[in-house]
């Protein structure tokens, strides 16, 4: 020992040489170095500390009695402790990873539950508004039916209304509308036609209207044909001016044809002088009428 204090560098060299560690201690040192520098071992600090202490004991045994069985055995234990520190670190890393995965699972599930709750809420809202809308359209339908009935009722006050195979036929008496042999509307006829126009508009459908003029059988046949056409035209023109869309209406003169009563009596002839408005069953929304179309 005295000798070593004299020559320090040599002494160190000598110390190293004299105290050659056992292979077990060398392995233990390497194992500890690996464990200490592995990123996982930070996750198992207690195990790493225990490995450090085991290595310290082995080093102490080496210093105390180099190459001894005790050094060998303690180094063996230290090596195992270092390995265990690494294993424990890996175990903890797995545990952390699992916690993160489980957290993600919970999050995804929560998100999904929230999403389906939102979905249910939206569906409920949709159902509710659909229900509201259904109620509304039911009410509208009822209103429209009412309007149609009102329109028909007002029509029946000024004219005859019949349901026939060709459609709803509104018959206006010629006597009320025109002077004999003339095609200008009488002032009193205007009020009636106004009612008819209003009824046609109020009814709210868009069925086409055929306006047909008829005369009795007295007089020249072709003159009657012309007159009936002019009268139908006059009615059509008036209805247009009252707001009934022109494209819905066509005017036709039918002359003496299709009498509804005998031309032999004054009363019969009066009935034959007439203008008929035929609301066709064919064409758009004939919903008021259940009659079939096939007779046309």
């Amino acid at each position: 020992m005295k000798f070593t204090t004299l020559l320090v560098p040599l002494a160190l060299l000598a110390a190293c040489a004299s105290a050659t560690p056992t292979p077990e201690l060398v392995t233990a040192r390497e194992a500890y170095y690996r464990a200490e520098h592995a990123p996982e071992s930070r996750l198992a600090p207690a195990s790493l500390l225990s490995a450090r202490q085991a290595l310290d004991r082995a080093e102490a045994a080496h210093k105390d009695d180099a190459q001894s069985n005790k050094e060998r055995s303690l180094a063996y234990v230290a090596q195992r402790r270092a390995e265990l520190a690494l294993i424990d670190g890996k175990t903890q890393a797995q545990r952390n990873r699992r916690a993160e995965i489980d957290r993600q699972y919970e999050q995804t599930q929560t998100k999904r539950i929230n999403a389906s709750q939102d979905q249910v809420r939206n569906l409920n809202a949709q159902l509710y508004s659909q229900g509201q809308r259904a109620n509304q359209s039911e009410q509208e339908l009822q209103l429209e039916r009412q309007r149609t009935q009102n329109a028909l009722a007002s029509l029946e006050r000024v004219a005859q209304v019949k349901e026939e195979a060709r459609g709803t036929v509104v018959t206006l008496s010629g006597q009320v509308l025109f002077l004999s042999g003339k095609s200008e509307l009488l002032p009193s006829a205007r009020d009636q036609l106004q009612t008819v126009a209003k009824a046609l508009i109020d009814q709210g459908d868009s069925r086409s209207i055929s306006i047909e003029g008829y005369t009795d059988s007295r007089g020249d046949e072709s003159a009657n044909m012309t007159l009936s056409q002019q009268r139908a035209d006059a009615v059509r023109t008036f209805l247009i001016s009252s707001g009934v869309p022109a494209e819905r209406m066509t005017a036709v003169g039918k002359g003496e044809s299709s009498p509804v009563a005998s031309n032999d009596t004054a009363e019969g002839r009066a009935n034959n002088r007439r203008v008929e408005l035929i609301l066709s069953n064919q064409g758009s929304n004939g919903r008021m009428n259940s009659n079939s179309h096939d007779e046309h």
Partner: protein, 136 residues
């Protein structure tokens, strides 16, 4: 006769221990045995590396017990330390395996949830809760 002779023998052994060498490492033997059992129960035999350490632990325990019989208690204690260290490594490996497969299970569960997620969220049709269990 035989038993008295044996007990006299034990007594002399105890006396010899009491007077001269170190005490029998009884606690270390118990510790080592307990750790070996714990490693076995944790499934160490399913892992080749853990199986090796388990074998080392048992061998060193046997050596220690033989040394104890020869009253070599100090040397026995060293073997018991080594046996204990190997048993702990086997136990640690078994725990790591368990943790790893639990992580795999968690991951599979998450992936399954994620893969079934878009269908359930984006379509208005009702989700299909009967599927997941059968796939697993």
């Amino acid at each position: 006769m035989k038993t008295t002779l044996l007990s006299v023998g034990w007594l002399s052994l105890v006396l010899a221990v009491g007077c001269g060498g170190s005490a029998m490492p009884v606690a270390k033997v118990a510790d080592s045995k307990a750790t070996i059992r714990a490693a076995e129960e944790a499934g160490a035999s399913n892992n080749p590396q853990a199986t090796l350490h388990l074998k080392l632990a048992r061998d060193q325990l046997n050596q220690a017990e033989a040394l104890i019989n020869e009253n070599e208690n100090d040397r026995a204690a060293l073997f018991l330390n080594q046996s204990q260290a190997d048993a702990e490594v086997a136990l640690g490996l078994a725990h790591e395996d368990k943790e790893r497969s639990a992580t795999q299970a968690s991951l599979a569960r998450l992936q399954q949830l994620q893969s079934s997620n878009p269908n359930n969220v984006n379509s208005a049709t009702s989700p299909d809760p009967t599927r997941p269990d059968t796939v697993r």
